[in-house]
Each structure stands twice: as C-alpha cells, then as structure tokens.
Symmetry: C2
Subunit: 155 residues, 2 copies
Amino acid sequence: MELYTPDQTDRDILTLLQKDARLTYKELAAMLHLSKSPIQERVKRLERLGFISSVVALIDPNKFENCMISYLQVQLTNHSVNAFRLFQQEVSKLNEVLECYHTTGGFDFMLKVVARNMIAYNDFLINKFGRLDNIGTLNSSLVITQAKRETALPV
Amino acid sequence: MELYTPDQTDRDILTLLQKDARLTYKELAAMLHLSKSPIQERVKRLERLGFISSVVALIDPNKFENCMISYLQVQLTNHSVNAFRLFQQEVSKLNEVLECYHTTGGFDFMLKVVARNMIAYNDFLINKFGRLDNIGTLNSSLVITQAKRETALPV
DNA sequence: GGTTTTTGCAGAATTTAATTCTGTTGATGG
DNA sequence: CCATCAACAGAATTAAATTCTGCAAAAACC
C-alpha cells in the first residue's frame, strides 16, 4: 500500500516543517527554490500518506506550576504475547501516560508520565497504574530539569 | 516579568491546539462559543508570553526505515554544579540527542537518542558521546515498539 | 523511434483565513 | 461620577491556501 519514498525535496520540507509548521508555502518555496505549487502538492502528499501525522502546538511545561514529569520503568511478571499486548492496551488508556515504549534492557517498558505534583503522582502509581495486572518491578526517574527538547527527527 | 495566568478559556485553547494546531480561529471560536477576535488575541498572547513555544509538524518515524530510538541513562563521575552544567551544554550540541533530562533515581540524566541503525548508534556512543568528559555508568534502553505518543500536556 | 501517459513544475484566478481596525460593553479605580 | 482598561463582536483589509490551466521533461507503451 505504501510505496512512496520521499526524495530529498520532501525530506527538506519535513525538516523545515518539523521546526516550524507555520511556514507558508510561499516561504517554503523561496527556501527550496521552487514555486508554491510543487511545495503544496508535496506537503499534501506527505500528509495524505501519513509521513506528517499531525501538526501540533508545543506548550512550555515550565510556564505552568503543578506539572511534574516522570520516567517510569516497568518490568512485567508475565512475558507472554497476550500479557504484553494487554499491558500496552491498558496503559494507553491512562491520561497521565504521555508515551509508552517497549524497550530492551533491564526493564520491559519505559513510560513518560505527567502529574500535577507528587501527591497526584503517588495517587497515579497506587490507584491507577498499580491496579493493572502483571506489574513487577517499578523504577521512577523524576525529571528535575530539561536541557534539550527536540521534536525533529533527522529525515 | 511573567504575571499572566491563563484562565479556563486560555487552557481550553491550549488543549485544542496541542491536538491540532491547524484549527482556524473560526473553528476555535465555534468550539468555545466566542467570536474570532478574542480567540486570536488569546492565541497571540499565549504565543507572545511563551506558553505556546512553537508549532511543529509531527513525523511518523515508522514511515522511515533506518530510524532507531534509544533511551540512554547516564551517571556522571563528578557531581559539581559546573560539571552538571558543562555536561548539559555539551550534550545539547549533539544532533543525535533529541531530549535530555536531569532526573532523580539511580542515574543523573536520561537522554532520548535517535540513530539510523545500530552501527550509527554504536558510533555515537563511542566517538561522540563517549568523548565527553565526566561520563560514568551508561545504560541503553532501545525502543522496540511505541504504544502511545501523546504530545498534549493536561493544562 | 515515435506516441501516449504520467509526473513535476509554474503562474493565474478564486476562495478562504488571518490580520487590522472600529466600536461596544462591563469592570476597575481615582 | 467619570476615566481607563480589558474582553468581546463585527466589518474591512490583507495575505495565504486552494483550485485551475498549461507546459515540459521523463516514463511507459506499442
């Protein structure tokens, strides 16, 4: 179904739009030495084919008090295929979980979790996450500061 | 300097724009039962004051082969203030590093790293990251699959 | 090899959204 | 009680997105 391979121009567009999605076609065209038409066609194609999954506003968490981030590493007790799938399903329903990765290493999953404060985080761990089946070892790494925030993938 | 506290309408706007930054003022206005003017004024203010830090296109990494993600936990050997600052400075210059968090827990930092493949990742670890001063213990968690990807903070 | 089709590009015309401007209301403060 | 400011609404203007037409080069076909 998916047989389109972005060329260099497409990848240049993606690189620019990852930094600033409010660049106009005119601006993109000027930067890439093309006219508006091919730029728009390429952007629309990249959207239609799912290379661009969405356009979002990034919020600065530091502007809001009551916002803490934690990376939570999780080891399951049962490692069957079904157990893995069920865990991912259930954890995806939790609003506090921003990201969920199945990883190699000492733990099975790495979760990015957001909470208002430590009390809310504790409540999440005990009363929401803790109620899931199949949870073994946990390891929380609370974010103190963030030195870099880069959404752009090198495409 | 920063004495503005977003009200509920502002936070509603942020919630919506975090999901889809291409909503027009007209659409936002309809959703929030206002006219275009106050919506635009609020959005512009949220941008000006830094609550909205940027608007970006999100790319689906799965559409590209040759893209692996790793979470790299780092323990420093020297924990002085200057050593911390220097590490964050230097690591922020590395293109492979998407995010860098100073965290609590067994390690000092958690880095999100992107590479084309295992060879490139190894090259990054040995020849780029490994050349930094003050590196103690390392622990790589390679991302196998991603179950959830949520950019929106609950504001 | 010549013809047709497709693809990428350019530019103009149209539609739509963003921006700017003007005015109103209601709350705040001297 | 009047002046000031903030939030809102709506109209006018400007700018961008979209759509349409056409051209030229590459690819596919006979």
